[in-house]
């Protein structure tokens, strides 16, 4: 099909004039920092819940088995144990959950499908008693063959991980089609800008690649406190998407959503690992059976089998003509989502989009499959999709350049999509100047200067859909003291969402930042926000905050005009006062209390697909490879935060630097290693290493680009994830430039050494 560019919005003329801003565009100290420094900030495991039972879980030791015995009598007799819960206790409702595919039993029924699956739960007066109860459960398993590699899972005649067809979950997009197979979901692109076929003398690069499963490692593992009876559910949870968790629990436990209340304390990181429901269904089920509040806190070992990043295999083909025009790209991608779908179909879709690369191909064909295996479930992790595929596509672009003897940067410049062109049919057109972003990186890397042997430079460019949904609302209230309270459902994961939302409201209302509060989410009082992910909090929820604050400003001005008998058209709000010429009144003196404004981000919806904006994934790197040890040293990392407008530049830099270190880990050494039996061999931080200070690149530069071309407040668009795809790919292309081509991540020293010595 040929892809018509969508008519709206107008993306060709970004507003480059900086508005006169007081609070937005600055980097004040984040208001939540003081409580975090003193230890006063409360996270999920810090909540004190008198009378709560402690929950410990019995997890399957094997990847795939029939449960042949599950005797809980001895466990029930352990002193302090109040309840032992198995699937047999979950009666009267369909104890199966999953937001995209409703495929996951709260507690295993008859079979286990991954090592770590929850088989039973024990609630007791103390954690020690609960742990003793778990040890006293007598379980027996009859092992079954385990599919631990997507290649085996999609082979003809492979056994099925799920014998019944996939059933849509409550937030499955309408029209989603599931295949009755281990490869149960496909995202396909079949785009033809120009008809024809690749010429016989074309340059063709075609290879296979692999990407590891990795662990998000939010330093705070999941924590849930739950109370539940037949009429209502009350949960405190370390979750990123409380409103979706509310819907999930309401759906599963058969209650109207308003009878389910979710409150969220500070989160000790998320990075996607706390998106959608995770430990809430089992906590609520146990609370119902026990008839008492329960507290369930994961360990790192638990967290590692709760969610992870998808491992991936792919075969990709890139074709260019002799003049350096990129002609066609095709890719087959297999995403290992483990035993349950979690967010796998969405991750697969975004991976499929990333496989194309932001180039003006004549023809693109992508088939990305989401595949069940007998490994722990995989879901969201920062920058998904682009992290998986951008390095693959960019490696091939580099190889085309090498085959043609063309500079790699120049080849990209010639073929990059321009602002307003179609990236993916049916999605928002490109809303960024990628060539300029790439040049900014190349300049700082010293592109073109000679390097000694075993050193290399790389650049990479990509885009990833951001925003995902326009469903965000906010309410801003004027307090009697003349300050404002912002009610918005974005979670404070550390990224600084509350700081940014306070800045936006302060800017609109002419308030000093310290007079704006952004309280934590309580779904019974906070307006709906779909989720905290997809780099949407500043752009989407932030737009709702801006609109709500604008509405409140109108009402304040109208009320002030009446009260002080002055024309509304001559009033301004500044420094917490209503100002007319040289006279002013304190907002605290405004009589009609209870002024508030409500706003939504709905204007961002409509025809944009999942891309309310395109998050830019552009980065560069310089590396040194030690041929004797295979060790890679990162001498320079340059990232681009093409954010439209940096509401808080320091937070933008922190987001990019943090993402850079995560990308370094994923690219160079992080890897969940599963045995052939499907059991995780490195189930903790002794064996699963994450980046420490010593792993910092020697030099790290974040270039902030502000073109005012985002759809969010003050021209902002999202950031904080693009570095994952961008820097991973830049490291791969830099290592290739140093002389070692990379078929598989991570580029651990053992692999690099073997690649060097195999060639």
């Amino acid at each position: 099909m040929t892809a018509p560019d969508l008519a709206a919005p107008d993306l060709t003329a970004p507003d480059l004039t900086a508005p006169d801003l007081e609070v937005v565009g600055r980097s004040p100290t984040r208001p939540d920092l003081a409580a975090k420094l003193t230890g006063a900030a409360e996270y999920g495991a810090d909540l004190h819940v008198p009378g709560a039972l402690q929950v410990k879980l019995l997890r399957s030791p094997v990847a795939h088995a029939r449960i042949t015995a599950l005797d809980t009598a001895a466990a029930r007799a352990v002193p302090g144990v109040a309840a032992v819960v198995t699937s047999a206790d979950l009666t009267g409702f369909d104890a199966t959950w999953g937001h995209y595919v409703r495929d996951r039993p709260i507690l295993a029924r008859d079979v286990v499908r991954f090592a770590g699956e929850i088989v039973a739960a024990v609630a007791a007066e103390t954690e020690a008693a609960a742990a003793a109860g778990v040890r006293a459960i007598e379980a027996a398993y009859e092992p079954l063959p385990a599919l631990v590699d997507v290649r085996d899972a999609v082979a003809p005649g492979a056994a099925r991980v799920h014998e019944t067809p996939a059933r849509p979950g409550f937030s499955c997009p309408p029209g989603a089609v599931f295949d009755d197979d281990n490869a149960f979901f496909h995202y396909r692109i079949d785009l033809e800008r120009a008809p024809g076929a690749d010429p016989p003398d074309a340059v063709v690069i075609e290879k296979e690649y692999a990407f590891p499963a990795v662990y998000q490692y939010a330093m705070e593992p999941h924590a849930v406190v739950a109370s539940a009876d037949a009429e209502s559910i009350d949960v405190w949870s370390s979750c990123q998407h409380p409103f979706l968790v509310r819907e999930e629990l309401a759906e599963v436990f058969g209650l109207p959503p308003e009878r389910v209340r979710i409150r969220v304390p500070f989160l000790g990181g998320g990075f996607g690992s706390k998106s959608y429901a995770k430990m809430e269904p089992v906590a609520v089920a146990v609370a119902r059976v026990a008839g008492r509040p329960v507290r369930l806190v994961n360990s790192v070992e638990d967290a590692m089998v709760t969610t992870r990043r998808h491992g991936m295999r792919c075969r990709m083909r890139t074709v260019a003509d002799r003049d350096g025009r990129l002609l066609s790209r095709s890719a087959d991608v297999w995403m290992d989502t483990g035993a349950y779908a979690d967010n796998g179909p969405t991750v697969t879709m975004v991976a499929g989009m990333a496989a194309t690369g932001p180039y003006r191909w004549d023809r693109v064909r992508v088939d990305a499959a989401c595949v069940y295996t007998h490994l722990p479930p995989a879901g969201s992790y920062r920058g998904f999709g682009a992290a998986h595929l951008q390095w693959v596509g960019e490696s091939q672009v580099d190889e085309v350049a090498a085959a043609l003897g063309v500079d790699r940067l120049e080849l990209r410049r010639r073929n990059l999509l321009r602002r307003g062109e179609t990236v993916i049919p049916g999605c928002r057109p490109l809303d960024a100047d990628l060539a300029a972003d790439l040049d900014a990186v190349a300049d700082r890397l010293g592109w073109g200067a000679d390097l000694p042997a075993w050193r290399g430079r790389g650049v990479s460019v990509g885009v990833s859909p951001g925003g995902v949904s326009a469903r965000s609302r906010a309410r801003v209230e004027l307090r009697p003291d003349g300050g404002a309270t912002v009610l918005v459902g974005s979670q404070e994961l550390g990224q600084g969402a509350r700081t940014v939302h306070a800045q936006i409201a302060a800017e609109v209302l002419g308030l000093p930042l310290d007079r704006v509060d952004v309280p934590a989410t309580d779904t019974s009082t906070t307006p709906y926000d779909r989720s905290t992910g997809a780099s949407r909090s500043t752009t989407v929820a932030g737009l709702a905050v801006q609109r709500a604050a604008e509405k409140l400003r109108e009402r304040i001005v109208a009320a002030a005009a009446t009260q002080w008998d002055v024309p509304a058209s001559e009033l301004a709000l500044r420094a917490g006062r209503v100002v007319r010429g040289d006279r002013s009144w304190d907002l605290a003196d405004l009589d009609p209390g209870g002024l508030a404004g409500e706003g939504s981000a709905e204007e961002l919806g409509g025809g944009a697909g999942p891309a309310l904006f395109w998050e830019v994934c552009v980065a560069g790197a310089e590396v040194a490879v030690d041929p004797d040890t295979g060790r890679i040293e990162i001498r320079d990392a340059v990232t681009v935060a093409d954010v439209g407008r940096a509401v808080n530049p320091a937070l933008v830099e922190r987001q990019d630097e943090g993402c850079a270190l995560q990308a370094v880990g994923n690219a160079l050494f992080e890897e969940m290693r599963f045995g052939a039996d499907g059991v995780l061999r490195n189930p903790g931080l002794l064996d699963y290493r994450v980046p420490a200070i010593a792993d910092m690149p020697q030099s790290m530069t974040c270039v902030i680009v502000e073109n005012g071309d985002g759809p969010g407040p003050f021209g902002a668009k999202g950031c904080g994830e693009g570095v994952f795809g961008g820097l991973t790919a830049a490291l791969v292309t830099a290592v290739a430039d140093a002389g070692v081509s990379v078929p598989e991540l991570p580029m651990s020293p053992d692999r690099v050494w073997r690649w060097i010595h195999a060639s």
């Binding site: 980097s27 920092l33 230890g39 705070e220 550390g494 922190r654 943090g658």
Partner: protein, 153 residues
């Protein structure tokens, strides 16, 4: 068995199991939740507290072994004079994001500052090898520590 523990200057006498970990006693018994549990294996540093002035990973430290030395946690440190200036340095550099690792970094820093052990950026990078942060990318933390220690960064 009843154990006498001195924590942040206050004496406590309470029954503690032989195998109880200091982190659990601090968090669950004394409600001092500033020290955080993360890795459980002495890798991440989030549970760092001082025993007898030296940093320990309280997730792997028996509460009984803290009998002889005073225990200091972030709650105690934060109440001391001089903490505000330190906090200021971290605030200026926007040095933490989720904050889960922050108490551990600060408790590691306290004795280093007292000893004057940080004389270069390299010292800072070496001394904090046992503190993980998954949010920031470390640079802002190192900058803030350098400023607090009066080290040119």
């Amino acid at each position: 068995m009843d154990v006498r523990l001195k924590v942040n200057g206050t004496e406590h006498e309470l029954p503690i199991d032989d195998n109880a970990l200091l982190l659990d006693v601090l968090r669950d018994r004394l409600r001092l939740t500033g020290a955080k549990r993360s890795c459980d294996v002495q890798v991440c540093g989030a549970c760092t507290v001082l025993v007898g002035g030296e940093p320990v990973s309280s997730c792997c430290f028996l509460a009984h072994d803290a009998r002889d030395g005073e225990v200091e946690t972030i709650e105690g440190f934060a109440a001391e004079e001089g903490f505000a200036a330190l906090a200021e340095a971290f605030a200026r550099h926007n040095a933490f994001q989720c904050g889960y690792c922050a108490p551990g970094f600060l408790m590691t820093l306290k004795p280093l500052l007292a000893r004057g052990a940080l004389r270069s950026r390299a010292d800072v990078e070496r001394e904090f090898a046992g503190n993980l942060c998954r949010c920031t990318g470390y640079r802002a933390i190192v900058d803030a520590v350098c400023e607090a220690a009066g080290v040119a960064s």
